[in-house]
Each structure stands twice: as C-alpha cells, then as structure tokens.
Amino acid sequence: MNHEQAERLLSARIDGERLSTRASASLEQHLETCAECRAFERGAYRLREAARFEVAPAVPDLVDQVMTAVGAEAERPRSRLRVVRPAGRRSILPRLAPVAAALVVGALIGSLVVGGPWQRPETGSALAATEVTEGVSAAAARLDAYRATFVIDERHLSPEVPQRHLTMRVWFEAPERFRLDVVDHTDYPMAATPTDLKLLVDGSTWYAAGPAPCPTATCPQRESVVRNRLPFSTAAPTPTDLVLPISTLADADRLTVLGRGTMLGRPAVRVEVPFERAEPLFPFLSIGGDWRPFFPNDRVRIWLDERNWFPLRWDVYPATGAERDAWALRFGLPDEPSLRSVFSVRALHVSLDTPDAGVFDIPATNSSQDQGARAVELGDVRRATGFEPVAPSMVGGLDRYRVVLPRDDAGGTLVAYANGLAFLNLGETRSWNGDAPFGPVGVQAEEISLTGGGVAYYEPASQDHGRRVAIHAAGTDLYLESNLPRSELLAAAAALPVQGLPMPDAWTHRRVGAATAERASLETARASVPFPIELPTALPAGFGLASVELVDAGFGTGVTLYLRDEDADAGIGTIRLHLEAASALPPATSAAQSTVEVDGVQGRFTPDRSQLEWIDGGLYRSLDAPGLALEELLAIAASIGGDGTGG
C-alpha cells in the first residue's frame, strides 16, 4: 500500500465510511510504519475541528419569513387551476387573493433578480392586478403619438450564437399609423442573414418585410403588403402592445404584480405574465428571421411606467419543471437557470412626440393582397347598401373614424370607432339569413342581458381577435369587436339604439353529423335529461359557463357545457364537458389513446384532442380543451360536483 492509497482509505475512515476487513488491516499495518500518513490523519482531524468551528456565524431565524412566502404559494392556484366562482356572480375574492400572494412571493423572488444600474429595489407596495389592467386600458384612449427606441438581448439562439444584440424602434400615431424597425447588430461567427425587420401600417395599407426563417446562411427576403385593409384588421394586425400592453395585460386573473421600483428614472411597477399571454409583446418573432424558442409557461416580467403604463423593460425567465426540461432538450437549449433572463427588451428612450412626416410611408411594391374594404362616406352608405347603418358619432367613448363596405359581408357595413389605441368595429347588415349570428360570433357564445333591456352574445378576446358581441334585433343584425374591456364593450353594445333578441330557432337548432344539437339554458337542460348536471368547481382562472347544448345522437339526450374565459382566451380555448347516460366508453378512435385513472375510475386520454373520457355511475363524461394538459384535465374532472350545488 502506498501513501496515496493509505490516505484515501484514511480519509474515508475519518468520514465514517466502512472499510473492508482486509483494507482496514492493510491500512493499520501501513500506519504502523508510515509517519507521513499518521500526520495526514492528525491533520485531517485538525481541519475538521477548524471547519466545524467555522460554521459558528449566527444563523438568522427565517421560519416566519419562509412560511409567509410558503403560505402565499399555497394560496396560489396549482398550475393554472383555481376554484371557480359561484355561478352567475363574479366574486372579487378570487381576483384579489392571488394578488396578495403574488406580492409576497414577488417581493421575495424579485429581490433575487439583478437589474440594471438604474433599478431601485422594489418595495412590494400593494397594487392590485385590476389597477394595472384598468390603468393600461384607460391610458389606451389618451394616447395620440409615441416613439421609442429599445435594445433587445437574446440568449441561446444556437450553440454557435449564444448571444444576440438588436435594436428596435417603434413609432405610433393614433388611430392606425404604426411602424416597427428591428436592426440586428450581432457579430455572427459564421455567414448569416441578420434579422433586420420592418413593419408599417398606415390605415388601409399594411407592409411587413424581413428574412424568411431558414437554416442556411443566406435566407430569402420576404415582403408582404395588404391594401384596402379592414379597420383594425386582425389578419393584418398592428402590434400596439409594444406601445401599451393592452392585450397582454387584459386579464387581471393571469397577471401577478411583483412590486414597484424605478426604471429609466421613472417610477415603475413590475408585473409577471406567462409567455403565452405576453406574445403580443414579441411581434417581431413572427415578422421574420430566426429567433430562439419560448416555452408557454416561461415567465415574462414587465416593468411598466407607472404614470402612463408604457412597457419600459421586459424579460423572459425560463419556467421550471420536467415538462420545460424535456421541451428544452428537444430544442437543444442549454441548461437555463430560472432566475436568469434569456430574452430582454429594454427601452432606451420613450417620448410622446409626434413622429416625423414620412415615417409611415409604405415602400413601393409590385404585388399586394387586397382585403377589399371600400372606404365610403357615411352619407353614401344608403346608396351603396340600401340602408342607413346604426352609426352614432360616438360609441364606447370613441369617435367615428372610418366607414367601409367590406367585400364579403352580405351587403353589410363596417363603421370603425377609435380613440388613441382603443378601437371598436361595428358591423351591420339588414339582410342576414345565415344559420348563426352575423359576423364572427359563434352559436356557443355567452348570452348576456344588456342593461336597459335586450340580450347580446359575447365571446372573449383571443390572440387573433378582440372581444366580440353579436346582436340580433328586429330587421337588423350587428356585431361589435373591440379591445375595450368586457364591461365597456357591453356598455357600448347596450347604448346602441337597438333591442337585442334571443337567437332564433334556426340558429339554436343545428345538425352535427348524425346528431342534433339545441342551445338551451342550464335549467332547461337539467329538466331535459335523467341525470344530474354537475359543473366542475376547479377551472382555470377567469373561466365560467358560457353556454349549454342538448345533444341527441339517437342514444338518448346528452348535454354539452361550454366553459370559457370571460375576458381573454390565453391559449386554453373553450373547455367542453359532455355528459350522456352510457355503460361503456365509445370504441377507441386514436392509436395515441391511453388508459388513465380519473377520479378513482378507469378512463381514457386522447392527447391529440386533449380529451379525457370516463364513465362513473352510468354517466359518460368527455372533457376536452385544446390548451390543457392531462394533469389539468384530471384536476378539473376530479372537481366535478365538488361543491354539491351543481353550479
């Protein structure tokens, strides 16, 4: 045995590791004759003594502090699920509880993140999520002009390009002039096409240019032009969340206020939303070029100017968990610590100055797409359509801005209203004979009783469109689409000089393949089926019952419940719960189906439809939602009938 071997064994023995009898005997034998190894043993014990004294610094008592944060965490919704409010009444409590929790957790986590030299520690002073949402919304109507310069820092585009540096300039002039320029300053280690982008909107014309994403060094340039654009068209959108994050921060339920501080020398408030909610703050990702991927639950932390709600800085922090790890592996991303920003957009300069003349000039191009919106004067509408549209000079506090005749709307009109960044489109026709409401609203929309009488049908906003309302009235059919908050949109709908009627039978009765479906109230549905209709009590935040259908496929009547977010759909989509008396699951329809345990009984999961099916007590239940994972569907399933009231 040499010194090295003996010291290794000694080291292990000192640490209480068991040695084999043979190794122990050899070591003892070596020690008897080796002073150097005996010295090593004594030295190791002296080190231990010194090291164990070393840990004497006074340890703070952090129990209360930790438990405050843990208590707040416990009150937060698990995943995206939260106990749903009682039917028909929106309680303020579920909105405020997570805010209070977020303040504590936010203050804690916020203190860990390093900001720029201009950043002051946050105080975590109370500011409710609803105040932020309402503040942003109110600011939208006051903004006439804006321009700003930002820097963009991106990590982990690829192993060869671990960091990129870009600048972005934004110009806006109310109501519909917008420009965005991105210039890529990255020093690429190989031949590459820089991600230089341009997006321009000037009322009825829309232009975008940039390299097509491609895996080779030279990527082709892409140019898109839309002419005769519909006002506030969502097919050719204006990414005004860069100016004011109206869409990103529309839903107080999915917004966490982290605290206050100073950014760019201005008092600022910091909020957090999941990336899937914050996508409108990253419009450049879809214009062109190559960008790193983001996970839907990555956290986007946004500093907002507290006086005018402009976004001053936003960072993406990686989400944690096995699902995110597996996703990162698929994209070949390196280990990304959750407290380190992987993408950052920082304002260098923001002003309310009117952009210079010529900023919004659209470059000459050969080809263009025509949306077919023909601009007319209000006085000329009757001659073109045969009727005078409902067109007050002001709707929802917004001024009339443009009147157009859309190409494809059954002889209809579209009157656009705007103020600052806020808009409302009012479409109308007098000759609607379709089998669903006129305009984009579907038959499963939520029925709303308007103040002052009459009903309307409401759909929440999504990434692709604003909040919408359809009104069916005597002799006319209308729809409204807007980025105004739900309450303001409904107030604007109620103020129109028409009386909304319930959907006619031709719309509420429809054929779905071999089955018939009939829209009904929950009470009617309960009286029409021989089984109890129980609603889930745990739903994603903000979700509620939108509509109910009785469905008959020839095996007895079943019921389908449509559950939606009231304000804005953040990628979950509509949750459908179908109930039907049955003793066995329908035959398998997908190779990807697997058996799962649902609330104590065996069920089936179909991942490509995000659908869970199970039978309990002679009742078949099918639960699906495009944006929910199995774990979330299981949690909803387990909560069905939980409060015993059935909704």
Binding site: R8, F40, F53, Q65, V66, V70, V114, P337, R340
Partner: protein, 172 residues
C-alpha cells in the same frame, strides 16, 4: 444529519402547512449555513434559504424518497445557490472572513487560507461531509456524482488544504 419523522414528511407532502413549518424549523439553520458557505454573503444566504424552501414546498409531492430528504433538500439549496451566483455573477472564489464568529482568529485565518487553496469542486464535498456531516452517499446525492468521486475529492481536498496550512507534522 437526521431525516425528519416520516409522519411529518407525509403530512407536509399532503399540503399540511404546520408539518411543513416543522420541517423549516428543523432544517433552516443547516440550509442557511450551507447556502452561506456557497455564497459567502449573509443576504444571499437568506434569499437562497427562502427560495430553497419555497421550491421544496412546490415540489414536495414529487419527492419520491429515493434519496434522503435532507439530501434532496440540500440539492435544491445547492441549485438555488448556483442560480443566485450565476444571476449575480458574483462567484466567490476567494473566501472572505466571516464577521461575528467565535472561533480562534488564528484558526479562522488558517482555515480561510486552506479553503482558498481548493477548487469549488473539492470545497463542496468537503463542506457537505465535514461541516454538515453528510455521508458519502448523501453528498453524492446532493452533488449528483458517484460515491467514488466524493471519496476521491474528499481525499484531494484534505491533502490540498493540509498542504496549504502546512499542518502536516514532520515525519517522525
């Protein structure tokens, strides 16, 4: 280091905040000391301790019991500390004196010099085993390495520190 009473652990996993508080009370000092040895900064150690327990609470249901609870908790604390160090870009290679310790000043200076002499790769297992009394298996679980690696790093850490301190006696 002793693992908690299994009944406390079970209750905490089921979401019993009182049981989780018992765990915090039992281990917060060890987690803080561990965080402090990583970060060498009292305020960072506070942050790491809080974040570690918060993460532990979040993921306790996923703790499968295939390592000791204390190893699992230390692994979380180590990850939090690494995140902190990376986020703040303040990796402390030089050990700074600790205010308020009661140790003999000379011994403290010697130990700092010794700790300076070893890389973090060797300092980490030394701290876990010598200061926190973890077994080689537990230290291996925390650091995500094999037991043999711990054994070898412990030996090299001791040898390097002793060389630095010149504590080895003259061969007799």
């Amino acid at each position: 280091m002793n693992d908690p009473d299994p009944r406390t652990l079970t209750r905490a996993r089921e979401g019993d905040l009182g049981a989780f508080e018992d765990l915090v009370r039992q281990y917060q000092a060890d987690v803080w000391r561990f965080a402090y040895h990583f970060t060498r900064d009292r305020s960072l150690a506070d942050d790491v301790t809080q974040e570690a327990f918060l993460r532990a609470f979040r993921f306790l249901r996923g703790f499968r019991g295939d390592s000791k609870f204390t190893s699992w908790l230390f692994r979380i604390a180590r990850n939090c500390a690494m995140d902190q160090i990376k986020a703040r870009n303040v990796y402390v290679e030089r050990v700074t004196p600790i205010a308020g310790t009661t140790t003999d000043p000379q011994a403290r200076v010697e130990l700092h010099a010794a700790l300076d002499a070893v890389s973090s790769e060797h300092r980490e297992p030394f701290m876990l085993v010598e200061v926190f009394g973890l077994s080689y298996q537990e230290a291996a679980d925390v650091l995500g390495v094999r037991v043999g690696t711990i054994k070898s790093r412990m030996h090299r850490a001791r040898r390097a520190m002793m060389d630095a301190l010149a504590v080895e006696e003259e061969a007799q």
